[in-house]
């Protein structure tokens, strides 16, 4: 709905964007949950192509493509066709395609789904880095992920927002049950501790 693919049944969506975008939709970078890539284009070709259709100049589009390939761990496979990539790589390419034009609002729908632990860490850190330049709207079923990444969290159920606050605010809210937690290392911590943070694919 925010991207304009679905018409709202009621209400309006307001978004402040700089006038040079020429419309709110163009200021959005959308990363769907499904993988939407061009199978017979290489990673770099499709990133440059996205830059060109967003009116980036040739050099700028190539520079952005190279930056995103590096940032998302795809630089070594920049010339590979998307159909030859592994699932994790395709998902990272899916994210990169949303960011070529440096959008004001980045909409990420379950960006970490299907990623291995290294990939999850890489994407998490990359998404965190986006906060300095863009507003990021991330949807997830993973509360840990929301807690780690979000400044504000909206908890939705049945299409309605039940709570909207910072993670700390939500934890301290009256409705929240009081929990005393002794944090143990998670399996993710153990896995990364044993295998390292280096990307495998």
């Amino acid at each position: 709905m925010i991207c304009g693919f679905l018409a709202p049944g009621a209400g309006t969506i307001s978004m402040a964007v700089r006038p040079e975008w020429g419309g709110a939709r163009r200021a959005i970078g959308y990363c769907p949950q499904e993988i939407m890539v061009w199978e017979t284009l290489s990673c770099r070709e499709q990133l440059v192509f996205m830059g060109r259709v967003h009116d980036l100049g040739g050099r700028r589009a190539k520079a952005r493509a190279d930056f995103l390939l590096e940032a998302l761990g795809l630089a070594e496979r920049s010339r590979s066709l998307a159909k030859t990539l592994s699932g994790g790589m395709r998902r990272r390419l899916n994210i990169a395609l949303a960011l070529v034009h440096e959008p004001e609002l980045v909409v990420l729908d379950e960006p970490q789904a299907g990623l291995d632990p290294q990939g999850r860490v890489l994407v998490r850190e990359f998404v965190r880095s986006l906060r300095s330049t863009s507003s990021v709207l991330l949807t997830t079923h993973d509360m840990e992920e929301a807690d780690r990444l979000a400044d504000r969290v909206a908890i939705m159920d049945g299409g309605r927002i039940l709570a909207l606050d910072s993670p700390e605010g939500l934890r301290a809210s009256e409705g929240a049950a009081e929990v005393v937690e002794v944090r143990r290392r998670t399996l993710e911590d153990v896995f990364i501790g044993l295998t390292g943070r280096r990307l495998r694919e």
Binding site: G4, L6, G9, E34, M36, V53, D55, L97
Partner: protein, 397 residues
């Protein structure tokens, strides 16, 4: 000016993308490119190894009546058997004459498709002729068959020549034939080449429709919807990429035909103009097909309908077309609403008769106008199905 330049850049970016995708899906591209040239090869092989042959069965009830001079049956057998020796066009066809004893058995063979015509010369034919009475011969055949009609005309002409010679009378009518085809275009293989060129253009209907639909099926069109790319820029680039494929198909088909001895009478630029417009019309129907389909699989099923419709009603097949109205001495019918019909006329005019764009102005203009109108319908259907309308209306209130 700046936005126009931006539009051109985006258009070129999308065109490059489509060309790269076409090249990398080389299996489909090769199939599209070599479909018609393969049939050129098959046609050439068929016409060269087995020339067109008509089969005549002869029941000569009058045999022996004019033993010294030779009866009609004998003369027809030798005249028609000599037909096709070194001739061109229809005169290159061979006629096999076979005598049969019984008209009933002969007619049964015609019904089974073993012969095109049975000629029965009744007993007393020569006697009637000698007595100055009007002799009668009987033709048996399938009157709906063009092969029957053609063999009837040839046999009748030969029989009439025999009768005028036998009676010493002058033929009541002298005829002279003037071919409207250049001499070099009289072989059956040459006559088939324009239809094969049109077949090569029609092949693009499926590749174009699949190209338009694939982007929507994969979801990548959503990414493009959020960019500065307009629907027109996107569809124009996709259409142009398919137009280039169609022109490559035409060139390959022509080159294959020329390698087998076909001589191109039309100038290449004129031919490419007509072929380009015809290809654009097929791409427009590809867009309409894409507007009615949700997936590439659907295209392969639904696409057969416009494909066969164009094949049947564009003039490639000899189907009659009902006339709707007449304007300026020209009849307008069902066939005239299809741009490819005008493309068929233009290409046949150029390739068979050496006509130029000046001679075919109406056909080329009609093709351009109709292609634009059908493209608009395609744009409307595609936009409604794939560019947001459906999803928006699916939102519950």
């Amino acid at each position: 000016m700046r936005s126009l330049l931006g539009g051109c850049r985006r258009f070129l970016a999308v065109l490059r993308k489509f060309l790269l995708e076409n090249l990398r899906e080389w299996g489909i591209l090769l199939l599209a490119l070599f479909f018609a040239p393969f049939f050129v090869f098959v046609f050439h092989l068929a016409f060269e190894t087995a020339p067109v042959q008509y089969r005549l069965l002869l029941v000569d009830g009058d045999r022996g009546a004019t033993a010294t001079k030779g009866g009609l049956g004998d003369v027809l057998a030798s005249d028609l058997a000599a037909f096709g020796q070194g001739g061109a066009g229809i005169a290159a066809a061979k006629i096999a004459v076979e005598s049969v004893a019984d008209a009933g058995a002969g007619a049964a063979r015609v019904r089974k498709g073993e012969a095109d015509l049975l000629l029965e010369i009744p007993a007393g034919f020569s006697a009637s002729l000698a007595a100055g009475r009007k002799p009668v011969v009987i033709f048996h055949g399938d009157m709906a068959s063009p092969r029957y009609g053609l063999l009837l005309a040839l046999t009748y002409a030969s029989a009439e020549a025999y009768v005028t010679a036998a009676t010493g009378r002058e033929a009541p009518l002298g005829i002279a034939e003037v071919s409207i085809r250049p001499e070099s275009k009289l072989k059956p293989f040459d006559a088939a080449v324009p239809s094969l060129v049109i077949l090569s253009i029609l092949t693009v209907l499926f590749t174009a429709a699949a190209l338009f639909v694939r982007e929507a099926e994969k979801g990548t069109i959503k990414r493009l919807q959020l960019s500065r790319l307009t629907a027109f820029e996107y569809l124009a680039a996709a259409g142009l990429s398919q137009l280039l494929v169609a022109l490559a198909c035409v060139l390959l088909t022509l080159l294959t035909a020329m390698a087998f001895g076909y001589r191109l009478e039309a100038s290449l630029p004129s031919l490419l103009l007509a072929a380009g417009l015809a290809s654009a019309s097929v791409v427009a129907f590809g867009l309409i097909t894409a507007g009615l389909c949700g997936s590439v699989k659907d295209v392969m099923i639904v696409g057969n309908f416009p494909y066969l419709f164009m094949l049947l009603f564009s003039g490639v097949m000899p189907l009659p077309s009902p006339v709707f109205f007449s304007l300026g001495g020209r009849d307008f019918g069902l066939r005239d609403i299809f741009p490819l019909s005008h493309g068929v006329k233009a290409l046949e005019g150029m390739m068979n008769f050496g006509l130029g764009p000046g001679d075919l102005g109406f056909e080329l203009g009609a093709m351009a106008l109709l292609t634009a109108l059908w493209s608009l319908l395609g744009l409307f259907l595609f936009a409604r199905r794939h560019l947001g309308g459906r999803e928006a209306s699916a939102v519950p209130g």
